[in-house]
């Protein structure tokens, strides 16, 4: 986990090298990790060093600057893409209870799913909307800054071995059908119904360096802000505020919050525990 080249005697050196590395990545490739949680980034970098048998961060930096493919793999290591279907079933229950009735009053609405990773959450929401009879009335934008995960998301192909857990989550979330109604099995994989993604546009968008993506009625951004330092989190919450229509809904991960972000007064709390907020109509 930690690389032999670093210990408490050269912690300062590592800090300097990390700072240079983040600066170099930003200048060369435009990805800005400078305000991501330091402990998290350090862990990923040291992990990458030991996997690629590169002795220290300065040599990693050299390689990254010169080798685009190498950087692309490194990027995968920095962006934690772990996700699952119907993670936090209680959240989906709350959506159903608190938000869906309001969406039903709209003729048409837009959803922005930011940091969607490989798409499991997108298909979960699409299933929920479908069961509520709303899928045909919506447009979903699903974005991430990692193009590889977006490819997987578009395909909607997942490992069969994960389905048992997803099925459990689906039932707990109050799903009204059977999860197996929505996918077909193929060898060790399952492929989700293309109907579900017919309303989804998958697109590359970086929350740190890009601007408002679209004006929408609901934003889901779960388990992305936890990787950002406070100031960056606050800025991204500001971006969400600007992207929402008045009365629009913001859903964060269960360990994320708008508390102390400076935007607290501009939102109403819909569900404190499930982190569902509503942009106030001022």
């Amino acid at each position: 986990m930690t690389n032999g080249a670093y210990n408490e005697t050269n912690a300062d050196l590592l800090n300097i090298e990390m700072q240079l590395l983040m600066e170099a990545i930003f200048l060369r490739y435009g990805y800005d990790f400078r305000n991501y949680s330091k402990a998290h980034i350090r862990r990923r970098v040291l992990h990458h060093l030991s996997m690629s048998l590169i002795p220290n961060v300065t040599m990693l930096l050299d390689r990254i600057l010169r080798d685009r493919d190498f950087f692309s793999n490194f990027l995968d290591d920095l962006s934690i893409n772990v996700t699952e279907m119907f993670r936090d079933p209680e959240f989906y229950k709350s959506l159903k209870y608190n938000i869906i009735p309001k969406l039903k009053t709209y003729a048409y609405f837009k959803v922005w799913h930011a940091g969607c990773s490989t798409g499991e959450e997108v298909y979960s929401i699409a299933i929920l909307l479908k069961e509520e009879g709303l899928l045909d009335r919506c447009q979903i934008y699903a974005t991430d800054f990692n193009r590889k995960v977006l490819e997987t998301a578009k395909e909607g192909v997942y490992q069969k071995s994960d389905i048992e857990q997803y099925d459990k989550n689906y039932v707990l979330s109050g799903g009204s059908g059977k999860l197996s109604d929505y996918y077909k099995s193929r060898y060790g994989s399952v492929i989700f119904d293309k109907n579900l993604s017919s309303k989804v546009v998958f697109a590359d968008h970086n929350l740190v360096t890009d601007n408002v993506f679209a004006e929408v009625n609901m934003i889901l951004c779960r388990n992305v802000l936890i990787y950002f330092e406070k100031n960056l989190q606050d800025r991204v919450i500001g971006l969400f505020y600007k992207s929402l229509v008045p009365g629009g809904i913001l859903c964060l991960g269960t360990k994320e919050s708008i508390k102390f972000s400076g935007y607290e007064n501009l939102f109403e709390v819909v569900d404190e525990k499930q982190k569902i907020y509503k942009r106030k109509i001022l």
């Binding site: 402990a39 862990r43 936890i226």
Partner: protein, 188 residues
């Protein structure tokens, strides 16, 4: 030595052990105590409420970006890794399980060693797997103090044994002696 934080890792048998240790720290305890207890996916609320009812110190679940305060007991939230940032705030991560665990003791201990180096006390208590052994070794390498519950007094000796295999700790104590030792170490 001026200790600035204590990190504790434990799994099976941990709740019983913590019920004895944490109230024993008294109400003037001068440093934060940060704990990973493997309890599966369900919420921490019940036992945090319970701990609050028996501990004079304030017990809460660690929150993302929260500033770590002395005399406060923090638990990692279920299903998230807990890390300590260089500016002594918490951060959380949903990365893969490590040692089949999320939260992982190793991940907490590693980040704590970087943040506090020699001003840290690392503790391994009762547990049924070997998470934390590597992290404890790192704490020791960074000059921190290490303490392992005597496996013979642990409900489940696997975790303390695994730690003892990797580290020769400064202290190897029976459950009843741990709180007293911590009070002594942090009052120096």
């Amino acid at each position: 030595m001026n200790y600035k934080a204590i990190v504790i890792g434990t799994s099976f048998g941990g709740l019983e052990a913590l019920k004895i240790i944490l109230p024993g720290l008294g109400k003037e305890f001068p440093v934060p105590v940060i704990i990973v207890l493997h309890i599966g996916d369900h919420s921490n609320d019940t036992f945090i409420n319970y701990m609050n009812s028996i501990c004079p110190l304030k017990v809460t679940e660690a929150e993302n970006n929260e500033e770590i305060k002395p005399g406060h007991i923090y638990f990692a939230p279920p299903n998230y890794h807990l890390l300590i940032e260089p500016d002594f705030t918490f951060s959380l991560s949903t990365e893969e399980k490590y040692n089949y665990s999320r939260p992982s003791i190793d991940i907490l201990f590693e980040s704590a060693a970087w943040a506090y180096s020699k001003n840290l006390i690392g503790i391994i208590l009762s547990g049924a797997n070997s998470d934390g052994a590597y992290g404890l070794k790192l704490i020791k390498e960074f000059g921190g103090m290490t303490l392992v519950q005597n496996p013979c007094s642990a409900t489940s000796p696997t975790m303390p044994r695994a730690a003892l295999k990797m580290v020769l700790p400064e202290y190897r104590l029976k459950l009843e002696d741990i709180a007293v030792k911590l009070v002594e170490l942090t009052n120096g």
